[in-house]
């Protein structure tokens, strides 16, 4: 019913082919595949290969999510596959549970195990995850072999049951294809959802993701758990297909096979996953002599991994896509971008930002030493100081990348001192970086959409509203015409504007700009000055850090000056810039000499 309702809405052709048309085509293709599975006269051998391909592909979709979308590695997918398979095997053969219950149980166990493993490791770097997943894989194999009372040890589990309606080979293949189609659809659509966009953001740039309001750790754990879940589902279906499972089917070597499948086909897309899986199941079957020498085909897989990474990092499907894209240019937007409305946040506190006695020490170095200042709502406030004066450290403490040694930060009246970066973004902080941090594999529009859907900025979960907001923000900085272009095609100056648009799209209470003029040429600086004035004109509060005195004295009403980590001046722009201490700090002159000059 909801599909019909969607269709009845006047949905202008925003994308070609439209998401609805795509979904319908997908469903038709899936239905055809299922019919083929049930009615074509395959012999048992072909049925086996097809069931194996479908169930493996579901597990490889897991790697599409965790490795392709989120950029995290999982070298234990065979272990999660094995958890699902053993749950169905032991559940139906020993405990006489229903197939569905055992499958759900296996998927649940894989999900929980994946979440626990991810939670223990994902705060740390990727090396840890690689090694921990290898370890987990080894442990699970040890348990399968040695816990004979439960797992039957090396003998494996036989007499695995299939569900009542799908007991024939053809029927079961139909079930597997249906599962494959469903999971494949969800994985295919995932990148366009909020969760999927967050995963891509985390993969591209964790720091930028966190200041865009994304809880990086939670997203990584979610991706990892999702991957484990798909492994468990695939494994459970696999067990039903073959009625016998043993520990060697779920060894570390198989995890490498899963990884090779994902990499070969293309790790970024479920289509690539399916291509890679099918190839690596069919090829060894046709090249059986490879299997006659133990180790040979895995040696080839190892070599293939090195070669693919080096020469074809996007896999077969990535290769094909380059050509497809030439024929599938996205259609233009049906209507023009709306006006960007920056709603000055409701008055909860007198000042947008209140900093009290803020300190950050690195060992003996007092990078920031009890600095206090306050940013009045609706004003443009500049934080300046010579190199090494503690400006960027202050900014990093303000946005939550560093924990302060002492002091208090109140944003819009809320104490945010102890909050992580993404939670501060939810309270209303937006920021840009001195060295631009964009999500480099995405379009300008997608970058800004991520900014628009920051927590605390409610656009009502409707995708069109998000896109409108993002286009409005891009139009505000003058780049709406190139919204669909990839980030890498923009000049440095334009990338800076996109970063500002990303922050603006979230309608922040306070916008932190870290040296926005750095690296810009003189024309771009003039444009930037105009842009900052327009932003200020909308009533948005800005805290800007920059070296460019012409820019600062032009746009800022209020200036705080730091030197050697301490505040040396604070006040109305003109007065501060005439302050002899400030002149001395910048020019290195004696205060009285400067005064006379």
């Amino acid at each position: 019913m909801s599909v019909a309702a969607e269709a009845a809405k006047p949905a202008p052709a925003r994308r070609f082919p439209g998401p609805l048309a795509g979904a319908l085509a997908y469903m038709a293709a899936a239905a055809l595949a299922m019919l083929a599975a049930v009615f074509l006269p395959f012999d048992d051998y072909i049925l086996h290969i097809l069931v194996e391909t479908a169930t493996y592909a579901i597990a490889v979709f897991g790697l599409t999510v965790v490795l392709g979308l989120c950029g995290q590695i999982n070298l234990a997918q065979a272990a999660f596959f094995g958890l699902g398979a053993y749950a169905v095997g032991l559940g139906t053969a020993d405990l006489h549970l229903s197939f569905w219950l055992a499958l759900a149980g296996g998927a649940g166990i894989a999900l929980v195990m994946g979440a626990c493993l991810g939670m223990s490791t994902l705060r740390l770097g990727g090396h840890y995850l690689a090694m921990v997943t290898i370890s987990f894989q080894q442990i699970l194999t040890l348990v399968m072999i040695n816990w004979i009372a439960v797992t039957h040890g090396p003998d494996g589990v036989g007499n695995i049951a299939r569900p009542a309606w799908f007991s024939s080979g053809h029927g079961y293949l139909g079930l597997c294809i249906a599962a494959l189609a469903l999971v494949g659809y969800l994985v295919w659509r995932l990148p366009e959802t909020k969760l999927g966009r967050s995963m891509r953001a985390v993969r591209d740039n964790e720091l930028a993701a966190s200041v865009s309001g994304i809880d990086v750790y939670r997203i990584k754990v979610a991706a990892f758990a999702l991957c484990a879940l798909l492994g468990g589902i695939g494994g459970g279906l696999f067990a039903g297909g073959f009625s016998y499972v043993s520990p060697d089917q779920f060894s570390f070597a198989e995890s490498i096979v899963f990884l090779t499948m994902a990499l070969l086909g293309g790790v970024a897309s479920p289509i690539g996953a399916l291509i890679g899986t099918a190839l690596l199941i069919v090829l060894p079957e046709t090249l059986r002599f490879l299997k006659s020498v133990p180790g040979l085909y895995l040696a080839i897989y190892g070599l293939a991994v090195i070669l693919i990474i080096r020469f074809m990092p996007d896999g077969i499907w990535g290769f094909v896509q380059v050509y497809l894209r030439r024929f599938m240019k996205p259609a233009a937007f049906a209507r023009s971008a709306p006006e960007l409305v920056l709603v000055p946040a409701k008055l909860e506190a007198e000042s947008a930002l209140e900093v009290e006695g803020l300190s950050k020490h690195f060992g003996g170095l007092k990078a920031v030493d009890s600095v206090s200042f306050s940013v009045r709502r609706g004003s443009v406030h500049a934080l300046i100081g010579p190199n090494g004066s503690g400006k960027t450290t202050t900014l990093n403490v303000l946005s939550g990348l560093y924990t302060p040694t002492a002091g208090k930060i109140a944003l819009d009246g809320h104490d945010v001192t102890a909050l992580p970066p993404h939670a501060r973004t939810a309270v209303g902080l937006g920021r840009t970086f001195q060295n631009i941090r964009l999500f480099r594999s995405m379009s300008a529009l997608d970058n800004v959409v991520i900014g628009a859907e920051r927590p605390g900025h409610d656009l009502g979960r409707i995708h069109a509203a998000l896109v409108d907001q993002a286009r409005a923000a891009l139009a505000f900085v003058g780049l709406e015409g190139r919204a669909r272009d990839p980030i890498t095609s923009f000049s440095y100056g334009h990338q800076r504007l996109i970063e500002i648009a990303r922050a603006l799209a979230g309608n922040p209470t306070l916008l932190l700009l870290d040296e926005p003029a750095a690296g810009l040429n003189s024309t771009e600086k003039v444009e930037l000055r105009g842009l900052l004035k327009r932003i200020a004109g909308e009533g948005l509060t800005i805290l800007i850090i920059d070296h460019d005195m012409a820019l600062v004295s032009d746009v800022a009403e209020h200036i705080t000056v730091l030197n050697f980590g301490r505040r040396i001046a604070d006040g109305v722009a003109g007065e501060v810039l005439r302050n002899p201490d400030v002149i001395a700090a910048y020019l290195g002159a004696e205060p009285d000499v400067a005064h006379r000059a």
């Binding site: 740390l124 990727g126 840890y128 180790g295 040979l296 190892g302 090195i306 990474i309």
Partner: protein, 291 residues
């Protein structure tokens, strides 16, 4: 009490092997910021070369040892040229995936060439060991401990007191600056890979008479060595050595008092415990990411 001393000796002996491999990990990590997941395979390949020459061809032990080390130096160089160097400007994920691919390739190539049967390699000495009070000191374990002490001392001298060692340190701390003051960074990285392969190879040859020489030994040793580096604090040389020794002792006691089949699992439990409660390890410092 006697048993405790005996286990302590064995644990330190096996831990010394983990420490050597862990040193290789740490050196490559400091030079390239990448963990080499094929580090354990260096040990496995060296042990197999020893089996081929000393057992199958009947060459003298010392000559086989030299041939084996020559092979490891070559392997280290090829590894750098074929796996790390072409990917040096990519992000870390492709690089570690490539080293994992290399690890699979090495292990299974040996399997394809030599077959799956575990091999036996005799120890260096004919005397099996000496009885010292209540403790029996196995000669091979004594050798392992002695060689580890010598190598660690050598490495300390090399890095702290030679110009080449200082150049290597400079390279690992800041490649760009090192190249600006005329240090050939590519050559330094090459040297690091060769030296790490040698360390891994020596560890493999030393441990071979204690374990069987098998295809799996590389992965097992690498896992333990990695756990050792985490216990010690990632990237810390002293930490890797102490972590390796600690892990050897924990594992030996675990096998004696808790369970033999799950012996290889203790490293994982220790690893996860450290990751949760003290991810910076015993000696490491947490470094905040800079904006």
């Amino acid at each position: 009490m006697d048993l405790v001393l005996q286990l302590l000796f064995t644990g330190i002996g096996i831990g010394a092997v983990y420490a050597l491999v862990a040193l290789g990990f740490v050196l490559i990590f400091r030079a390239t910021n990448v963990v080499n997941f094929a580090q354990g395979e260096f040990s496995m390949v060296a042990a197999f070369i020893m089996v081929v020459f000393a057992v199958d061809l009947g060459w003298p032990y010392w000559l086989s040892f030299i041939v084996s080390l020559g092979g490891m130096a070559l392997l280290g160089a090829l590894f750098n040229l074929g796996v790390y160097y072409p990917l040096r400007n990519r992000s870390f994920l492709p690089v570690i995936i490539a080293t994992i691919g290399a690890s699979i390739f090495l292990a299974n190539s040996v399997l394809a060439l030599y077959g799956p049967q575990p091999q036996v390699l005799q120890g260096w000495f004919d005397t099996p060991g000496i009885q010292l009070g209540p403790v029996y000191l196995d000669s091979q374990y004594l050798l392992i401990i002695a060689v580890t002490i010598v190598l660690v001392a050598f490495q300390y001298w090399f890095f702290e007191h030679t110009l080449l060692g200082k150049k290597l340190q400079a390279t690992s701390q800041d490649k760009e600056m090192a190249s600006l003051i005329g240090i050939p960074v590519s050559a330094m990285i090459m040297l690091t890979f060769v030296y790490s392969a040698l360390l891994g190879g020596i560890a493999g040859i030393l441990v071979a008479p204690v374990l069987f020489v098998s295809i799996q030994m590389g992965a097992t040793i690498a896992l333990k060595a990695f756990a050792a580096t985490i216990i010690g604090g990632f990237g810390d040389v002293a930490g890797a050595i102490i972590g390796g020794l600690a892990l050897g002792v924990i594992e030996t006691f675990g096998a004696a008092y808790i369970s033999v089949p799950y012996k290889d699992g203790f490293a994982f439990l220790v690893l996860v415990a450290f990751l949760i409660f003290r991810p910076q390890g015993l000696f490491g410092e947490r470094v905040a990411e800079k904006a």
